[in-house]
Amino acid sequence: MQMIDLLEKHKGIAERHARMMAMGVDAVGLTNDKILSPTRAVINGRETILAGTNNYMGITFDADCVRAGQDAMAEFGTGTTGSRIANGSYALHKELESELAKFLKRKHCIIFTTGYQANLGMMSGLAGPKDTIFLDADSHSSIYDGCALSGAKLVRFRHNDAADLDKRLARSEGEEGGRLVVVEGIYSMLGDRAPLADFVEVKKKYGFQLLADEAHSFGVLGPHGRGLADEAGLEDDIDFIVGTFSKSIGAIGGFGAGNHPLFETLRYAMRPYMFTASSSPASVATSLAAVRKLAAEPERRGRLGVNSARLFAGFKGLGLDLGCDTVSPVIAVKCADEISTIAMWNALLEAGVYVNIALPPGTPNRLCLLRCSVSAAHSFDDIDKIIALFGKVVASRAAA
């Protein structure tokens, strides 16, 4: 019998990648040779402005956070060598969960080793094969993967469309099992926000449990930096929140939080929590210091807002077609096609600015995007340089 080569199915991907490589730098495998600051790296021997890092608070080189990580490594070692349900729970992990719960004003918080695992864990812990998860069409891959892991029935509703959710809930009325609806605070590709009040109205009509993934909005939105629900004044209507430490917190890890009396039981029901090594002491200590900074230094959030508005206005002034009409730290520029997007991405890098390139199927509606993320650590000079370079590279091409 002839062997079927398992990797043969990825040949198309290899060819697409080769086409990208032929046009310049490997956009999906870029190497930062040195990281100089939250907003500067050396890439291909050139000092480059970083405008695609999700380092919203610009906290990655904060002296207190760095010291906290160094001290924890010296005190607790390099790694935990075990999972949270075995030998991998340290006082530090519990302290971070407690501090986060306090910051989020939630009774319970569980931390995960990565943000990706937080969604895998929460979706699969909350919903099971008899339940239905209704997820926004533009949900992050970690939500899709978590939903798949749950074994629940999966129903996708049109992006940010509460009326569409209503219609799909009506179609499934009378079916057994619980219903979980999943939305995001800020959507990672286009930077738009869930119309939370509309979803809460639908929730009151149908009585489901609502989860908000605040990965990109945690630390960024709301008077207290707790995310979109905080901004919208609807925290009591959100049953569960998920977040990450790899954006505003500047470390790695994720969390789930809620007030449900059985929430702690999820620790024994979430495989992505149970069967992986817990976060390293340095990472937990860094995150802990950063959470305290978020609470103590709201000016970072203010600065991020000012920077985001400046870049948004600058891009609007250039006549660029943006991902959404709301200012957020995620500002995506829509481009005509894959080839021109790759060419412009290379030209921007060559000129000294790194942004993210986002191509289908990783984007909604088959869009090709040059995605920027703003940091509180960007100077006005940085922002103005980014605008000028987009004017030179992107706007001029669109006009040509």
């Binding site: 069409a137 939903c147 999966l154 049109r158 179609r171 289908p360 984007t363 909604p364």
Partner: protein
């Protein structure tokens, strides 16, 4: 098993905007592989099918549906159920 011709015809009409290959659609056309439609676009297309027939086709079912005939059989089963 074969789905109703009417359902197949309606699905082909809904699929045309997603078909950039110019290939002629038949019941045996594999939606994703033959038409080079990526996973997200397939889900978008199925959403159109759901709304057109006013039925629910969960993603778990989509992942087991490959050809136009497969999808049409799902639609037939679910419209009858409704």
């Amino acid at each position: 098993m074969t789905a109703s011709q009417d359902t197949i015809g309606q699905i082909c009409k809904l699929l045309e905007p997603f078909n950039s290959t110019g290939k002629v659609l038949t019941p045996d056309t594999e939606i994703s592989t033959d038409l080079n439609i990526d996973s997200v676009a397939v889900m978008d297309f199925v959403m159109e099918v759901e709304d057109h027939f006013d039925i629910e086709i969960p993603l778990n079912v989509v992942s087991e549906t490959h050809s136009i005939n497969d999808l049409a059989m799902v639609v037939d089963a679910r419209t009858k159920k409704a």
